[in-house]
Amino acid sequence: MLRRFSYDFNELSVTKSDLEECIGIGCDLNSFPGQPEEALKSAADICQIQGGYRIFETIGKDYKERQLIAGEHYLKTGRLIFGQLAESDGLLVFVCTAGEAISAYAGKLMDKGDTLRGYLYDVIGSVCVEKALDKMEKELDAQMRKRSLGLTRRFSPGYCGWDVAGQQKLFSLLPEGFCGISLTSSSLMKPIKSVSGVMGFGSKVVKQERPCSICGKRDCIYYERNSPIKH
């Protein structure tokens, strides 16, 4: 089953604090009076937030190779994510993007030498994709609860030991150009401000904390961090 969604930037309630959190704990944008506010205001007309997902009601598991089997496709997510999805009966494969325009605008500003404003728009692009996915996840959580099912966290290729080349497999589970997102040969998504990933669901699934304690990569930027924003 395939579903699509789109959100208006304003319904994601992106705030200056969200930007500060994304930039770094302790960052204070008050020394740039008006700039974050202005960027947030105009980003509403620039961001084109859309996404979608495909639901596999049942999946298989190859415990020996630690692979998930969705339809005819094998997803080698790595030991850590496979473990997190072990209790799942089904799989949800998702993508979401803030659109091409926000990165293009940020790039244009940076090329013109307006680096701070360019950077702020770039951060807004990152933040709004993550907030859109938070909203999607919240909505899915509610839907799953109605079916007495639990939903796992989101996991993406490139993180928690899942090879970024896994993007190719993940995208093969979705229609070509789904939600306007495509892959380069080196597995990067276009538009740049896009996120892809999977979530498991099932009757035994309970949402776990971030698996940092199992991973052991203490130098990972997302280690025990609450916000998984990438930029």
Binding site: P33, A165, K217
Partner: protein, 226 residues
């Protein structure tokens, strides 16, 4: 104003990202001269361009690098400092062209194949430029071949590889191997959130630094360019 006071003003303006008189940032320096005006003043007062670079610009960027390392400032402040530095650089450009000022060397930089994260790479570029290096930025998602081509064009350059994903660190390894195969003398620096000193040793790179300033310190020592 004495020469050393002007140079300190330049360093201060760069440290705090004061570009010029018209720049509203930082708010407490609004309406005051910035790096651009003080650099012009320094040259008009007969201070050697090389001294302006080393005792003004580089001093300022050195402080920025250290504060960024200590999480006292963040990317937005570094960007403003880089803009202030560029404002000074505009006045110094003719002296680079005439050969009165020489760069410390060339630094080829890029984010490795499969990785699109460029903020860290850009910060390193800015801080290196501010410390007198000529930076050749290859961008993001850069293949080993592209690094090798750039090295052929600029054979004595240092190469810097950036990665933010643990999974693209493998591409870093491949690129380091190919560079070292071509010329074992080429200095290769690596950086990025998941990279460690142990990984650097394992793949045969020359230097890993968790922050741009560490790289600057290393290069200054290695090339006696402090």
């Amino acid at each position: 104003m004495k020469h050393n006071e002007i140079l300190e003003k330049i360093a201060y303006c760069i440290e705090y990202g004061k570009i010029d008189r018209n720049s509203p940032f930082p708010p407490n320096l609004k309406g005051q001269d910035g790096a651009g005006e003080y650099t012009q003043m320094a040259l008009e007062k007969g201070i050697r361009a090389d001294d302006v670079l080393r005792m003004g610009l580089m001093q300022g960027m050195d402080r920025v690098g250290k504060k960024f390392r200590e999480n006292k400032i963040f990317v937005p402040q570094v960007l403003m400092s880089a803009k202030a530095m560029n404002s000074s650089m505009e006045h110094l450009m003719p002296f680079f062209t005439s050969g009165e000022i020489r760069s410390k060397g060339k630094f080829i930089i890029g984010t490795v194949l499969g990785d699109l994260h460029d903020i860290g790479k850009n910060l390193v570029s800015m801080i290196l430029k501010g410390n007198g290096w000529e930076v050749i930025d290859l961008g993001i998602d850069v293949s080993s071949e592209k690094f090798l081509d750039a090295l052929k064009e600029h054979p004595d350059s240092v190469v810097g590889l950036s990665a933010l994903l643990t999974t693209t660190m493998a591409n870093m390894k491949e690129t380091v191997e190919k560079i070292k195969d071509q010329n074992s003398e080429t200095c290769v620096a690596i950086g990025g959130a998941p990279v460690t000193r142990e990984f650097c040793d394992r793949i045969g790179a020359d230097i890993y630094s968790p922050d741009p300033q560490g790289l600057v310190d290393y290069l200054n020592q290695r090339y006696n360019a402090g």
